[in-house]
Symmetry: C2
């Protein structure tokens, strides 16, 4: 693959210096910002993530901040998920849809107070959608991107590493809850969350002043735990069935197609954008849905949508795929039509290197 | 610099096959799609662009389509530029701003008919802003991204090459006008426009069927003109003062700061978003503004904002810079405060490799 050319438009992060010193080998661009994708090798990074602990520069998870009297009202308009039970200290996974129920993003929202939220976004300018709605509806809310850069601590030893920096209190944090913990005299927001199935935390670092000090402190304190710089790992996230916005779902898809129907309280989330379309979808369920797929043979890089066929008919698509060393098979994420989505169904995946036989898998590989 | 890792999220284009065959060496990501940045070398590409003709895959200039009874009304809401004189066949450069007058994008809009427009965007999801406004205002308009991928023909021999494919009629096309021309039995929209100062065209290719046939036909017919695959060239665009959204301007900047005040008819563009803020700005003019800047000494890669100082004070920023072989100096684009923006003012540019003396230049290098 070719090189990536630097420019201001493809933003560096407050941790770029640390990422470079750790020998980053490749990047992708996510929310117009650099996201590391490989340090040692995808496979080495994978084994290490599953056995030790990694520090990830996930500054690309930009925040959309909503603050003002109407912040809560606007938040509920953004998602079919019922937010009435959301309290400060909570993180909510939030399918965000347009008027037809098409996915615009799948962020994690944090409620800071009754009139202030952060929405930690996947790869689309959700800010512009929220700003458009707030402006056109004359809402009393300011919508902006604050200077916040998340740093993730992921892996089976994440609790030990986090505790060595933030104290043992951090161990008591429940899944998808956040709290404030001291680092060098400042309170940092730490959430138990992250884009892996290995467990861990995300630290919402404000500004740049404490960014590299925190990175360096984690690297130093993590030596006994074999810490290393890391990043979201393609193999691990496919095994775990973690969807990637832009890869496995786009504006073409409803939450129900993405297997996110359980987050859609369309009956009670009164007035959210897309409610009518999603009420319709929820009546019969979706025609196609996300499935774990096991693919036979050698695979090229999944850098484009692969059609899935049965006989002469296109019955789905594969959008992420990789060889899993731990399971000894090619693991993949795709969408398959109802006619062929039952576990065990044999299908054909059309890669750029030709067709590959494949099977619809019962579950992801956990 | 590191490699870029492929994924479906970073979209390939209908011309990717041609781009790869031509030996692309590096990419950037623009609107979540691959944009080539170097073929032979930046300097070789530069000399070739200025002397021959190049074919550019600029599929990343995604279209936002507005169609419906309210399309014209919504278009005018998007921009302080007065659109009342815009006719079908016209391309308009369109500063697009938020409610505070901050730049959201600087697209080129094409009017297809009274109720249908394409907005050919720079690097931000303008689609989400337009969709948000259309939805919240209950406008009778459909806003979507059609399957259109622009291919540019740029360079002094662009007229000859375009004429050999589309016929001599294409030579009569005026600047920022478009027409329909036959290619293999289908009508293609061709505009006299493009992101260089060397002249040329942009072909708005619909779908994928004729994409590679057009690429190949241009490569074949272009042999007498020394055609080669190319891409927007950093050196050439800085010399020419072509701003890059995300590099030289962001949501922090008003059109007036970007030197785009002449496109702001805030007095007559009744009701456009941001009108009140821009009326205020236009009263006294901006405090800082885009300037051509000549920088002394050796320069590192301009991959981040460089502060501009005078004594102890920060009085601006440089956001794009490169060595110009033709002018024998480092050319740069920045913003400088009123106190220091006069031509000839000596300033200091703070690069990651240390300070560099510099001079505010009267004009760009044309």
């Amino acid at each position: 693959m070719a090189e990536i050319v630097p420019s201001r438009r493809v933003r560096r992060t407050p941790f770029s210096e640390g990422v470079e010193a750790a020998g980053v080998k490749s990047y992708t661009v996510y929310n117009r910002m650099l996201l590391p994708t490989v340090f040692r090798s995808v496979v080495e990074d994978y084994h290490h993530l599953k056995s030790a602990v990694q520090v990830w520069d996930v500054s690309v998870e930009r925040q959309v901040e909503l603050r003002g009297t109407d912040a809560g009202r606007l938040m509920q308009m953004l998602t079919p998920r019922d937010l009435r039970g959301m309290l400060p200290g909570c993180c909510y996974y939030l399918p965000t849809v347009d008027e037809t129920g098409g996915m615009l993003n799948d962020p994690v929202a944090l409620k800071l107070s009754e009139d202030r939220y952060w929405v930690s976004i996947a790869d689309s300018d959700l800010l512009l959608w929220v700003k458009g709605l707030a402006y056109a509806w004359h809402l009393d809310v300011i919508v902006d991107e604050p200077d916040v850069s998340p740093l993730a601590i992921q892996g089976p030893k994440a609790d030990d590493l986090a505790a060595s920096i933030f104290g043992d209190g951090v161990r008591d944090l429940k899944f998808f809850r956040y709290g404030y913990f001291d680092f060098q005299g400042e309170q940092m927001m730490v959430a138990r969350s992250g884009y892996s199935k290995q467990g861990g935390f995300e630290v919402y670092v404000e500004g740049t002043k404490l960014a590299m000090p925190l990175w360096n402190a984690l690297m130093e304190a993590g030596k006994p735990f074999d810490v290393y710089a890391g990043c979201p790992n393609t193999i691990e996230r496919i095994e775990g069935g973690l969807l990637s916005y832009g890869n496995d779902m786009t504006r073409d898809n409803t939450p129900h197609e993405c297997g996110l129907g359980r987050f859609c309280s369309t009956q009670t989330a009164i007035g959210c954008v897309g409610r009518d379309a999603l009420l319709r979808v929820s009546k019969e369920g979706p025609v196609k849905q996300v499935r774990a797929i096991e693919i036979d043979g050698d695979l090229p890089s999944c850098d484009r949508l692969w059609k899935v066929t049965a006989g002469d008919r296109v019955i789905g698509q594969v959008t992420s795929a990789a060889y899993s060393p731990d399971f000894g098979v090619n693991v993949a994420i795709g969408m398959v039509k109802m006619t062929h989505w039952d576990a065990g169904t044999r299908i054909v995946v059309q890669t750029q290197d030709g067709p590959r036989d494949a099977t619809v898998h019962e579950t992801f590989w956990l």
